[in-house]
């Protein structure tokens, strides 16, 4: 037995993906936990930006929503919602967009809208787009954090809420999207990155104790695997301590 859970590993791996000083547009839930963990470990100067309009928030405890008072209280600036999208997100000022997903497909397209084929009579009605379509379009790069399962990792999302690489490597340019798109998908099993040639999400790293077969089983398409798979270093005691302190305060 390891001294940590797969969920903790996922969050730690996500935190590590954020470089110090980066400007990060943070979705609520796992992205927020990971970003706040990064700020408490290797990236004290990470700039957290929430779609509620808080720029440079430094919350001492995890916010439950993107509009918690702790975000406004600790932010460098609080701006109106139209401004956060128009002046800060849209022009490509944000380094990293950090998103979750209900479904993600082999080209990194994300669905948070409906499960099922019929938009008007969905099997499951999800919350919808929120800020994600424009975060996915305009951040310089996108990181996705999502648990690995065949229901989530699907051949083709039922609804494209946020564009990854569309149907292949040239779609973003054709669509005129300014950001690079999803450069990293972090799951509870490992890391996926787009193949530089095909843009297909490819397994490039496994968390300790996971093998590629297990990742492939949890993926709803024939998962491509990089020739040499890296292994994620175990969560350090400092990382685990910081994460558990964060989550206990939640």
């Amino acid at each position: 037995m390891t001294g940590w859970t797969a969920d903790e590993m996922m969050t730690v791996a996500a935190a590590r993906a954020l470089r110090d000083g980066a400007r990060c547009f943070v979705g609520i839930g796992r992205p927020s936990t990971a970003a706040n963990l990064a700020r408490r470990t290797h990236a004290p100067d990470l700039v957290l930006i929430y779609e509620s309009g808080t720029i440079g928030a430094k919350p001492a405890r995890l916010p439950l929503s993107i509009g918690d008072g702790v975000l406004a209280d600790t932010a460098d600036a609080v701006v109106p919602v139209p401004e956060i999208f128009n002046y800060w997100l849209q022009p490509g000022r944000i380094d990293v967009g950090f998103l979750g997903a209900a479904q993600i497909d082999r080209y990194g397209n994300i669905n948070t809208t409906v499960i099922g084929d019929d938009y008007h009579d969905p099997a499951v009605r999800l919350p919808g787009a929120g800020g994600a379509p424009e975060i996915a379009a305009s951040c310089r790069e996108v990181i996705v954090i999502v648990k690995h399962s065949p229901r989530t990792f699907v051949e083709r999302v039922d609804f494209v809420t946020s564009v990854g690489y569309g149907t292949g490597p040239d779609d973003r340019a054709k669509l005129g999207l300014t950001g690079r798109g999803p450069v990293l998908v972090i799951t509870d099993l490992g890391l996926l990155e787009p193949d530089p040639r095909t843009a297909e999400l490819t397994l490039t790293q496994l968390h300790p104790g996971v093998d590629a077969a297990r990742a492939a089983e949890a993926t709803g398409w024939p998962l491509a695997v990089a020739p040499s798979l890296r292994v994620t270093p175990d969560p350090s005691p400092a990382e685990l301590a910081a994460l558990r302190l964060l989550e206990r305060q939640d």
Partner: protein, 272 residues
């Protein structure tokens, strides 16, 4: 002209069956008490507009007030789905609910256009997503200088815009601070408006980060302390996260919801 009125008076005057009504507040300063008053007054066939329909809209939809929802993210923030909303969309209970679905960037810009007296707004948005397939109010527009194709969305000009704020003075000037979301935009975009406030004071002393709406830009002001609960009013209250968590169970079940509605909304007379 920022007329100070009671909440029931203001809602009765402003909100009519069939109206387009926007209750805004981006997780902060949500006018929940005003939503409950609309339920109590039995309004029907409303087109409800809100970027983040959360608990208050789940309640209004479950109570049968809504015919249509215009929105960009319908969920219980940090908790999960909105079960009354899902029940209405997926099973038509208690009434079928049409939806018009956007992104946050699109909705925010629709309010900006509405506040600006323009028929539409332009953004980089929606491109490559399936939203334009299902939402008629998303169209391409070409830059007359560069030829680049961008996205246009039409202005939102609700019949009534409702927000909560911290304070007003006796002349009806409104002051709010913290996360102000699209508060200013929805009030200015709407034909008529109501601002519920924590308190009416003699003088609005300046505050860092404060946004002011002059009295003449607001139709009614109603003093409703705690009127944003379970959301919060910075400087007055904390977000009641337990309420959001508890809502999940209440709202999953039609009977439990109906009991809750009777007890907490329909049989409760507002203090004002």
């Amino acid at each position: 002209m920022g007329v100070i009125a009671s909440l029931p008076e203001a809602v009765a005057e402003l909100v009519r069956d069939g109206a387009t009504v926007a209750l805004e507040g981006f997780t902060h300063l949500i006018p929940v008490a005003a939503g409950h008053e609309i339920i109590r007054q039995g309004r029907r066939d409303l087109t409800l507009v809100r970027m983040t329909p959360d608990i208050v809209y789940d309640q209004m939809i479950g109570a049968g007030c809504a015919r249509k929802l215009v929105f960009s993210w319908a969920g219980n923030p940090g908790v999960g789905s909105l079960h009354r909303f899902r029940d209405a969309v997926q099973r038509g209970w208690p009434a079928p609910l049409q939806i018009e679905e956007h992104s946050h960037a699109g909705m925010a810009n629709r309010y900006v256009a509405g506040a600006s007296g323009l028929p539409f707004a332009v953004l980089r948005g929606y491109v490559g997503t399936d939203l334009p397939v299902h939402t008629a109010t998303i169209k391409p527009i070409t830059c007359p200088f560069t030829g680049e194709v961008l996205t246009a969305v039409p202005a939102l000009n609700p019949d009534v815009g409702i927000v909560h704020a911290q304070r007003a003075d006796r002349a009806g000037n409104v002051q709010m601070w913290g996360i102000t979301g699209v508060h200013k935009e929805v009030v200015l975009a709407s034909r008529r408006s109501l601002v519920t406030v924590e308190e009416v004071v003699d003088e609005l002393d300046p505050r860092p980060g404060a946004v002011i709406l002059p009295s003449w830009a607001v139709t009614f002001v109603a003093e409703v302390p705690g009127g944003a609960h379970p959301s919060y009013a910075m400087g007055y209250s904390e977000r009641d996260n337990d309420y959001y968590l508890a809502w999940d169970a209440i709202s999953r079940d039609r009977a439990a919801f109906t009991r809750w509605l009777e007890e907490h909304v329909l049989n409760r007379v507002p203090a004002t």
